[in-house]
């Protein structure tokens, strides 16, 4: 699991994002028009790509894309309650 793939998947998921728009330090809630719908799309994307289901509390604990990547990797490696 590489962060570049993670970022590419996110950039491909949202119409208003272009390659290079997202970095590990990007604050995902600063995305234009951020809403609860964006949060659901992130969780669905991570579930679909990595078979890791993040819950609302886990998402709340993340600020940057790197935080999301880290928690996903942790759960993927058995460090959390994998779905």
């Amino acid at each position: 699991m590489e962060i570049d793939d993670f970022i590419t998947a996110i950039e491909e998921e949202f119409d208003n994002l272009n390659p290079g728009d997202v970095t590990p330090n990007s604050v995902f809630r600063d995305m234009e028009g951020w809403s609860s719908m964006h949060a659901l799309i992130f969780v669905a994307l991570i579930d679909s790509k990595y078979d890791v289901l993040l819950n609302g509390e886990e998402l709340k604990s993340c600020v940057t894309i790197n935080d999301l990547f880290d928690i996903t990797r942790l759960k993927l490696n058995g460090g959390g309650a994998k779905a």
């Binding site: 028009g33 809403s35 609860s36 719908m37 964006h38 949060a39 659901l40 799309i41 969780v43 669905a44 579930d47 679909s48 289901l53 819950n55 609302g56 998402l59 779905a83």
Partner: protein, 350 residues
């Protein structure tokens, strides 16, 4: 986990009713253009049907049942009427009792309501089977419908554009030669707050609470008498439990996913149903969707999808279907059943 093998039951007809009035996602005044586009792309909901103020869930189910009973000419053979709804006409009596009278069913007919939402139709099919399989009853009329739009606040962007109204009627009968059905269900009441109308019943009677509208989040306005939904909690619940339940039913039946003709999921939203479908490794064409036209219609979404998307094959072909309802409670139920020569009709309510 409740897992069961069911015998001697056949589905003879499924009729559904939708209101004529159409609400389009892009016309929702509290969405910006971008929000409307994202909502439609994510939930799949392009438009939905909304019942008029004076029309209830029982009215829509009555119309479906009336048409079905006329076509099948079997009023006198209905020994049980089950009405699955979370939007009954009154606190009491049960709407099923009122429907028994309006439909002209015999007074010997049992009738009761079942207070379940999105999992309710599949639970209703199980109930019908439990009464029929001993051979004592002749026919069961299962009504499932909701008027969810009566509970949502117009300025709640998370709920108002999601729900549509619909009713349905399904006729089941004893069938000595019917193939076995397979059922799995479960409940996780720790998720009760995820989809809830807090006020208006015994826990918070109408006189006891402040029913002022509150902006609980940006663009989300409601009071305690309105339906509140936590989309993230629902998504997590569904992805954790629904694929397991579907696999439990497949294991019981000793069938493989690819042997299903169709997996018909409760139409929660397209993000959830697509995620479940991908986990089950099924192609889109095996997982029919009606959410784009009708929104989330709660207990009616599975019969409505059957009438809307599978009408021709239900009439003509022998099918192996897996139905799965999931949602408010949390509650879920999956049923694998065989069908043959099922009459269907999709009607509009003026």
């Amino acid at each position: 986990m409740a897992e069961l093998r069911l015998k001697h039951t056949a589905v003879k007809a499924i009729y559904s009713v939708i209101p004529k009035r159409v609400y389009k996602t892009h016309d929702y005044p509290y969405f910006s253009e971008d929000e409307a586009k994202m909502f439609a792309n994510t939930t799949g909901i392009i438009e939905r049907r909304v019942a008029a103020t004076n029309v209830t869930a029982s009215d829509m189910c009555f119309k479906a049942a009336q048409s079905l009973l006329e076509d099948m000419n079997c009023h006198h053979e209905i020994d049980l009427l089950v009405f699955v709804t979370q939007s009954p006409d009154y606190f009491l009596p049960a709407s099923a009792a009122i429907l028994q009278d309006k439909l002209g069913l015999p007074t010997a007919c049992m009738a009761f309501d079942v207070n379940l939402g999105c999992s309710g139709y599949v639970h209703g099919l199980l109930l019908a089977n439990r009464y029929l399989q001993q051979g004592g009853l002749r026919k069961v009329l299962l009504l499932a419908g909701d008027k969810s739009t009566i509970s949502t606040h117009e300025q709640d962007k998370t709920a108002f554009p999601l729900f549509g109204d619909a009713g349905s009627a399904t006729l089941l009968e004893y069938d000595a030669k019917g193939k076995d059905w397979f059922f799995d269900a479960g409940t996780d009441g720790s998720g009760a707050d995820a989809i809830i109308i807090e006020a208006g019943h015994s826990r918070m009677p109408y006189q006891s609470f402040d029913d002022q509208d509150i902006e609980v989040a940006p663009g989300v306005v409601r009071s305690k008498k309105h339906l509140a939904i936590d989309g993230m909690a629902v998504f997590n619940f569904a992805l954790k439990n629904v694929p397991k339940s579907i696999n439990n039913v497949l294991d019981l039946s000793k069938l493989r996913t690819e042997q299903l003709d169709y997996l018909v999921l409760h139409q929660a939203n397209q993000l959830i149903t697509d995620s479940i479908r991908k986990k089950m490794k099924l192609p889109k064409e095996k997982c029919p969707s009606s959410i784009g036209k009708y929104g989330n219609t709660s207990s009616a979404s599975i019969p409505l999808t059957l009438c809307s998307e599978l009408s021709e094959v239900l009439k003509k072909e022998r099918l192996c279907l897996l139905l799965c309802g999931f949602g408010v409670g949390f509650s879920w139920a999956s049923l694998l059943l065989s069908t043959h020569n099922v009459a269907t009709k999709l009607l509009e309510y003026d």
